[in-house]
């Protein structure tokens, strides 16, 4: 035990000293392909995470496999069952007949641990019902995942975890045959690095003084052909826009005709017809009339209620957000500059010079931001502040909902079922829901009939709702395979659920909202939101 934790610590230090200037160590080499996605910060978060998985089913071990491989810190499998002959046939983390009769949790933990020596794994053979009385046990994990938990235990677990926001998030996974669904029950999830596709503004329309001065100071006409053909498009646009504004009451090109004229003016600045940098400026001309302002989804975060009740123990994210709100409430009412300059046709000197201007300005604005933060009396890790400022245009707050909130309103179900866009998703969800409830009611009859399932569904829907054909199809599927944990479905869910767990743990990328529904006969996935 001791030795394992030491290994983890040494290993973590290795990523901490992730050397960019020399050949990487073994650990960095092992994780190279994922570090290129979530970097050392994401990796450190994974290695600090403790995940509890309830049951060692084929689906559960498939999920865990995809968390152990990338190097999660710790996992516990909670499962009191003994490996049956049925289990041994569909679970890659059991050794066929050799595992039959042994503890399912112990066998799965042993085989999963072989995948990655730096991961700690524990088998817990207690009953979940007993563990439910011990919320400090549950609180020791950062994430809990439950597959095909019986409906009454799931109700108890999900209610308990929801009752206290400091308790870990829960991922609920259901599957039968080719159909499946999962849901992330999470109170609040803040994301600094969402890896958004949105590009930050280059401030063409609101150039900072050094950028404007530089653009205006260049003597385009005096340049030789080579230099003229390598003026970065950013400078061409700033200058062209400045001239335009001078003759248009300080306005940017607004109408289509004006925009065409603006582009013509840029082409008119060419010395030779084949100057690619001016062609780039034309292609990027939209940047001149796209107003640099706080994006609406970031603006929306400024009215988040947490900001009204901010206190020293509030999570750092909200202190940073409050500082950002103050920053953006001052002229020129924009987000701090990001120093990333895209590549463009330019010679080395003019590009590097421009890059330095952006960098210097970004540092200045970051200093302003830090000063605001300081004024409010908050001290935060400069690395975090830097990351926040760099990603200010992609911030996200996810406010989740309680499991089964859908099920409490039959009208909502009715509406979702009747809408063409959500019909098959709702039908699949209802079929799986009916199955899990009926399996509890009659634990001895493993196979609820189609009629029983349909009757259950009809019963939870408003009277006026006529069941569409899709319900019959999905009910037919679950009635055919009520207790089948198919290896391919397990592997598919194993990938999807682990992917979402990684997003929740690293706080990078954006986890799914609503119920994610999977149909592996139609080969589609869909989202169901109330």
């Amino acid at each position: 035990m001791m030795k394992d934790s030491q290994d983890i610590e040494t290993a973590t230090t290795a990523v901490g000293t992730f050397r960019s200037s020399a050949q990487p160590d073994n650990k960095t080499r092992r994780y190279d392909r994922q570090l290129r996605l979530w970097a050392a910060s994401g990796q450190n978060a994974l290695e600090s995470a403790r995940v509890l998985v309830v049951s060692a089913s084929a689906t559960s071990t498939s999920i865990l496999k995809n968390l152990v491989l990338p190097g999660i810190g710790h996992f516990t499998i909670l499962d009191s069952e003994i490996v049956s002959q049925e289990d041994a046939g569909n679970n890659f983390f059991l050794e066929g007949p050799d595992s039959v009769g042994k503890s399912r949790a112990h066998e799965a933990v042993r085989l999963l641990r072989e995948l990655n020596e730096s991961v700690e794994g524990i088998a817990d053979t207690s009953d979940l019902a007993d563990r439910l009385t011990d919320s400090s046990y549950l609180a020791s994990f950062s994430l809990i995942i439950a597959h095909n938990l019986s409906a009454n235990l799931l109700d108890a677990l999900s209610k308990l975890l929801w009752s206290d926001p400091s308790l870990p998030p829960l991922i609920i996974v259901h599957s039968a045959g080719f159909l499946a669904e999962f849901f992330i029950q999470i109170h609040e999830h803040t994301i600094i690095d969402s890896h958004t596709d949105a590009a930050p503004s280059l401030r063409i329309d609101k150039p900072f003084p050094a950028l404007l001065n530089h653009a205006q100071s260049l003597d385009f006409d005096a340049m030789d052909d080579t230099d003229h053909g390598h003026i970065p498009y950013v400078l061409i646009l700033v200058r062209a826009l400045n001239s335009w504004k001078a003759t248009h009451d300080g306005q940017t090109p607004k109408s289509y005709a004006e925009r065409v004229e603006f582009k013509k003016a840029i082409i008119g600045m060419k010395k030779k017809a084949d100057e690619e940098n001016f062609d780039e400026a034309v292609a990027q001309a939209y940047r001149a009339w796209t107003e640099t302002k706080v994006p609406s989804d970031i603006e929306a975060l400024f009215s988040d209620t947490v900001l009204d009740t901010l206190d020293p123990v509030s999570p750092p994210f909200f202190h940073l957000l409050a500082a950002l709100k103050t920053f953006a409430s001052q002229p020129p009412y924009i987000l701090p500059l990001t120093s990333t300059l895209p590549d463009m046709k330019a010679d080395t000197n003019s590009y590097v010079h421009l890059q330095k201007l952006y960098k210097a300005r970004a540092e200045e604005e970051k200093a302003q931001f830090t000063a605001i933060l300081k004024q409010s009396g908050v001290l935060l890790d400069p690395v975090m502040v830097d990351e926040f400022v760099r990603n200010a245009h992609g911030l996200k707050i996810v406010r989740g909902r309680r499991w089964d909130i859908l099920g409490e309103n039959s009208e909502t179900f009715g509406k979702l079922l009747l809408s063409k866009e959500t019909r098959k998703e709702t039908a699949t969800h209802l079929a799986l829901r009916a199955l899990s409830r009926l399996l509890v009611k009659n634990p001895n009859t493993q196979e609820p009939t189609k009629e029983q399932l349909v009757a259950y569904i009809q019963n939870i829907l408003p009277d006026h709702v006529e069941l569409p054909e899709e319900v019959g199809v999905m009910v037919g599927e679950v009635a055919r395979t009520p207790t089948a944990d198919l290896p391919n479905t397990a592997a598919f869910l194993g990938g999807l659920v682990a992917q979402e767990a990684i997003k929740v743990i690293t706080k990078q990328y954006v986890p799914v909202k609503g119920v994610c529904v999977v149909d592996l006969i139609g080969s589609w996935t869909g989202i169901l939101e109330a």
């Binding site: 994780y31 592997a491 589609w524 989202i527």
Partner: protein
């Protein structure tokens, strides 16, 4: 013990409890040809022969999934050996396996873990095998990272289709991933859209112009390309660069770093150097699991007819929530591999044969690297315009590169384009503009 007894011994009671729920009876979306019960189980477990191409990120997952679903005669081809950077996702390999054949280690692991499954590895290239080899399989699944290899197997399987012999049509299931994205597709050669039909869906690889690399570097990538493309051949002569050799990467890194310092460019790192020269694509276990499971699930449904299968493209993006898109990619009538129709190709009257070759290289829907050209005249006669090989013919036709296209074909006449690396031939109909 005869083979049947052996199978009975291995198939312990309850082994297929989960799978058999699907195989014992039809569901609402089951094909009418479904032969529920013993017949379908016998085919799946005792007769069906399946080939997996690639034993890497997708391949490891595919082998495990197939074995668990009951395929018992699995073959796998891979020419690679195991590297430490594979271990974050290729879960059949351990540290001690580094340097060994992926196909062999993967096959041994699956046979040990799933009793009674026979996995036959081949440590080599898919091009080593001919049609008679591919003909023995019922289904072929590809988990490859190379576009060229996919094009080769796709074209080979399309060419194998013989209308007289239904057995010659081999379903090809192809998976691919990149970071949080991936796709799985089912190709029925000549019947559905093939891999070549969708070449234009591929994103263009980033290429840096030589003049930027040589004269106006701006990004760290430009410095790295300078080191590998220009400085290596310049200073190392004929020595072949091995991007798996840390010393070579080290040299490239030092060289790129020195250039970056000279130009005040920031950001050259070891990791970036390796990423650029090896064209590294980020890869994680979870995405591979999703795509491999899709592929195997389609293989299972096709092999058993137990449910309808994918027609024909599944795309997944996991960066922002769970997004997927299932659609039917249409067959291209002018596909150089499976389409019957020729491509109308516009040619400038002044173009030389060399210009035509350059134009062909530019086309995203064609993408031939080293095309050979032969003119087909209206009277049916053919003339070699330019041949990449053999050497004597290359030399004989080389002077033609400078001649005008119009010296060989008139308006409305044809040119056949063939490629040395791919079993395809493309018919162009020339239109002068």
């Amino acid at each position: 013990m005869n083979e049947n007894e052996q199978t009975r011994f291995i198939d312990w009671p309850g082994r297929y409890y989960h799978i058999d729920q699907v195989l014992n009876k039809p569901g609402p979306r089951t094909d009418e040809n479904f032969n529920a019960g013993d017949a379908v189980k016998d085919f799946l477990r005792n007769q069906c022969k399946i080939l997996v191409i690639g034993a890497g990120g997708l391949g490891c997952e595919i082998l495990a999934d197939l074995a668990l679903t009951g395929f018992k005669d699995i073959h796998v081809i891979d020419m690679d050996t195991i590297d430490i950077s594979n271990l974050n996702r290729q879960f059949l390999f351990r540290q001690k396996d580094v340097g060994k054949s992926k196909a062999i280690v993967a096959a041994e692991f699956v046979m040990k873990r799933v009793p009674g499954v026979k996995v036959t590895p081949y440590f080599g290239k898919i091009q080593d095998k001919d049609e008679s080899y591919y003909m023995q399989f019922h289904i072929i699944i590809c988990g490859l990272d190379s576009v060229e290899a996919r094009r080769w197997i796709n074209a080979t399987l399309v060419n194998m289709v013989d209308e007289e012999n239904p057995e010659s049509l081999k379903p090809l299931i192809d998976g691919g991933t990149e970071g949080f994205r991936g796709q799985a597709r089912v190709i029925l050669p000549t019947v559905t859209s093939c891999y070549e039909c969708s070449l234009d869906l591929l994103s263009k690889p980033t290429a840096f112009p030589i003049c930027t690399i040589a004269n106006t570097p701006r990004l760290p990538e430009h410095c790295i390309e300078w080191a590998s493309v220009l400085e290596w051949p310049h200073t190392q002569g004929d020595k072949k660069m091995d991007t798996d050799d840390p010393e070579h990467i080290g040299w490239l890194y030092d060289t790129a770093l020195a250039r970056a310092k000279e130009f005040e460019i920031e950001g050259v790192t070891w990791s970036l150097t390796q990423g650029v020269v090896k064209n590294i694509i980020p890869a994680i276990a979870s995405t591979n699991a999703i795509i491999a499971a899709s592929c195997c699930n389609e293989a299972f449904k096709i092999a058993t007819s137990s449910s309808s299968y994918l027609d024909n493209y599944f795309m997944y993006i996991g960066t922002d929530g769970v997004y997927s898109y299932t659609f039917k990619h249409e067959q291209r009538e002018d596909c150089p591999v499976c389409g019957g129709r020729s491509v109308l190709f516009e040619v400038d009257k002044e173009w030389t044969v060399n210009d035509l070759i350059d134009a062909l290289l530019e086309r995203p829907d064609i993408q031939v690297k080293k095309p050979s050209l032969a003119a087909i005249r209206k009277d049916g006669s053919t003339v070699n315009m330019y041949l990449q090989g053999p050497k004597s013919l290359e030399e004989a036709t080389r002077p033609n590169l400078e001649k005008k296209v119009s010296d060989f074909v008139g308006d409305g006449e044809g040119i056949i384009v063939t490629a040395t690396s791919l079993p395809l031939s493309l018919d162009l109909v020339i239109k002068y503009i």
